[in-house]
């Protein structure tokens, strides 16, 4: 299979002169713009406010700590995962009457984020259990590296292409009333379930390596490449995840 097809199609589909209009006027463009702005915020935050954060982290209460983690997690989701939802957002645009589109996309994104927040809650719960068992937190970055290695191996599993194919799943949506809203939440949950199945290990790795911005950015590029440019049966990603595992070893 010619793996350049997607890349060619993608490049040809971009009208560079119309790009600013695309980014500001279309639903997918707006989503990408929002993600871009979050990236800018994260970059600024990590470059300028690092010391202040460190001091803040040392003095905050447990509840403040959880709220900070949730905030960071939501930022991560918007920056990393929302740009991967072009197909799903376009499906909502197609499947909804004009006057309900914006609302439907927001509800969909709410449903999508909800499941990922549950994922975070599960991870935080496990960390709390680990803390109660006095497990040394310094092993977390190593576990993060382990996650990258594990995903490298799982690429070769028989089930991986099936999971990747499920990322493009769509769903029929009601167009009116509460049923339409519920359907959008369900669609968000369904997409998130598929995303978590395919991306939970890299995301867990990022949590365990303390959301290092450089690593986050590289993982985002890798996920983007996998989603938009590779066929489902490609094993190329195993090389990329292995490289990221090596890089994360250097970073810790």
């Amino acid at each position: 299979m010619n793996r350049s097809t997607s890349l060619n199609l993608f490049c040809q589909s971009i009208d560079w002169q119309q790009l600013p209009r695309y980014l500001l006027r279309t639903p997918v463009g707006r989503l990408w713009t929002t993600s871009g702005l979050i990236w800018l915020w994260l970059l600024t935050d990590s470059l300028l406010l690092q010391d202040a954060h460190q001091h803040h982290l040392e003095t905050m209460t447990a509840i403040q700590s959880i709220s900070t983690q949730v905030k960071h997690w939501v930022m991560m989701l918007i920056a990393m995962m929302f740009p991967l939802l072009a197909l799903q957002v376009n499906h909502i645009v197609f499947a909804m009457p004009g006057f309900r589109r914006f609302r439907s996309i927001l509800i969909y994104l709410f449903g999508y984020s909800l499941l990922w927040l549950l994922f975070l809650a599960a991870v935080l719960g496990l960390q709390a259990i680990a803390a109660s068992l006095s497990i040394d937190t310094s092993i977390y970055p190593l576990l993060g590296v382990g996650c990258f290695i594990l995903v490298t191996i799982l690429i070769w599993s028989k089930n991986h292409p099936v999971i990747m194919a499920s990322c493009s799943a769509t769903m029929s949506l009601g167009i009116m009333g509460w049923r339409a809203d519920i359907d959008c939440v369900k669609y968000g949950l369904k997409t998130a379930k598929n995303c978590i199945r395919s991306c939970w290990l890299p995301m867990l790795a990022l949590i365990l390596t303390n959301h290092a911005i450089g690593l986050m950015f590289l993982v985002t590029l890798a996920l983007w490449y996998e989603r938009y440019f590779l066929s489902h049966i490609s094993k190329q990603m195993s090389i990329i995840w292995m490289l990221l595992a090596c890089l994360s070893v250097v970073m810790i």
Binding site: M1, N2, F94, A165, A169, T170, S172, G174, I175, R179
Partner: protein
């Protein structure tokens, strides 16, 4: 250069079908691990081990081999026509070389696959499968296979109306081109084109049995004559001119697919090298054959730049059951009056024509399905009348498109139907009520007991 001939107009003493039967019989004796076997060739199109038609398949190649070379057929994308052209040509080459080895012909070019032109209205026998495929009706006949429908084809289902379509590529999700949507190669994507819908899908469904399912269709020897005709119709469409042309796009032209040659060597074929039939392997042409194209009113009412808008849809997933089914497309009257800007098209405006389409999405299920007749706003008595009929739906590939696999997500099929003319008529009728639109789906044959069909949603786009 070989010439592919019309199977219903073969010259007297022509041995094309006799040699075809000899070749097929030989291919059937070869194991499924052999790329030149009938099983292997059919499995390249589609394979499902649990299907009864595959019961005698025997030893299989390794899992990784099957993942790479089996279940490779391309549907619902602009690669439908070129992939099948390559596939048919390689099969033809293998079979011809088998005949050479058996001493039946001197060179590969001495035998060509015939085509079945079922659309030839000048020939009363055209709709019937050649008798060589039907008699004797047992395994002694290599061209016979169990469970085909009889009689096989309905005239309307082989209409060449879709050759009227000018663009090759689909304009959007609903408005179809001739060849399909710009999609990556995929076994069953949603962007099918006009040629693939009719006559391709409809003939598969009408023949039934193994032909009605992509994972078994290659096992029926008539499959290759049907696809030979589909390949011919691609050329017919190009020959009609008036703007009809293949995509001039690198993503299309540079796409490569891998097949096997007679010697068991892999052959990587590229789309741009098969756009001219004389360039495909040793090259071929088609015998002239009557292909009447029904005239069609040209309607281009919605500017290309304006996307179609959704104006009504069914509410919940519907089980089609075993008989006819009425499905309401709801949009409350209060919403229609409040949203005049986007829903004005639903008003009764006799002087304004509108482009209108029904879109059937997430059609899932299992088993072999008949073709469904689609009616809009049938009378209260319930039965569909010809005035309300807007077309037919083939669900070829339903099983495979409903099963999550390495090729697709399992979300099922999507289909669209142009209902513009009836929609205009309906809006002019005195009792027109846009809040009470209904669609009726009626199976054209009995639905088998083990068949299930669900439709995620039916929507109206104007």
């Amino acid at each position: 250069m070989k010439e592919r001939k019309d199977v219903h107009n073969l010259p007297e003493n022509d041995r094309s079908l006799e040699l075809y039967a000899i070749g097929v019989a030989e291919m059937k004796t070869r194991p499924a691990t052999d790329p030149t076997s009938g099983y292997y060739q059919a499995a390249m199109h589609g394979f499902f081990q649990d299907d009864n038609f595959w019961a005698d398949v025997g030893v299989l190649p390794s899992d990784s081999h099957m993942e790479s070379y089996w279940n490779q057929c391309i549907h619902g994308s602009w690669f439908f026509a070129p992939w099948h052209r390559m596939y048919i040509a390689c099969f033809e080459s293998i079979l011809a070389n088998i005949l050479v080895d058996l001493g039946k012909i001197a060179t590969e070019d001495d035998w060509a696959l015939p085509f079945w032109n079922y659309s030839d209205t000048d020939n009363s026998a055209a709709l019937f499968m050649p008798s060589a495929f039907l008699e004797p009706e047992d395994k002694s006949n290599p061209l016979w296979i169990k469970e085909r429908n009889s009689p096989p084809l309905i005239e309307d289902n082989v209409s060449l109306e879709k050759l009227n379509i000018i663009p090759f590529v689909n304009e959007d999700m609903i408005r179809r081109g001739f060849g399909g949507a710009i999609e990556e190669p995929s076994q069953f994507d949603t962007g099918y084109g006009g040629l693939e819908e009719r006559p391709h899908d409809w003939v598969h469904d009408d023949i039934g049995g193994a032909m009605a399912n992509p994972v078994t269709s290659g096992l029926d020897p008539i499959f290759w004559l049907h696809h030979c005709n589909i390949d011919r119709l691609w050329q017919e469409w190009l020959d009609l001119g008036e703007g009809r042309k293949n995509p001039d796009d690198k993503s299309f032209n540079n796409q490569r697919f891998v097949f096997y040659t007679y010697t068991g060597v892999q052959e990587e074929m590229i789309v741009e090298k098969v756009l001219d039939t004389t360039d495909v392997l040793t090259g071929y042409t088609y015998q002239e054959s009557n292909s009447p194209i029904p005239s069609r009113t040209t309607r281009r009412l919605t500017p290309r730049s304006r996307p179609l808008e959704l104006v009504a849809a069914s509410n919940t997933k519907q089980d089609l059951g075993k008989t006819a089914r009425n499905i309401q497309l709801t949009i409350p009257a209060s919403i229609i009056s409040r949203r005049q800007d986007t829903l004005a098209v639903l008003n009764s405006i006799p002087d304004t024509d509108t482009e209108a389409y029904l879109y059937f999405e997430n059609i899932t299920g299992k088993g072999v399905t008949p073709i469904y007749k689609v009616y809009v706003n049938t009378p209260d008595s319930g039965a569909g009348t010809e005035e309300c009929c807007v077309g037919r739906l083939s669900l070829f590939g339903l099983d495979i498109a409903s099963t999550p696999s390495i090729h697709h997500s399992g979300c099922g099929l999507s289909r669209s139907l142009d209902i513009s003319e009836l929609f205009d008529c309906l809006r002019t009728q005195p009792g027109w009520n846009p809040a009470q639109l209904s669609v009726r789906l009626e199976p054209t044959r009995e639905v088998p007991a083990d068949t299930e069909v669900n439709i995620g949603r039916i929507s109206l786009h104007c």
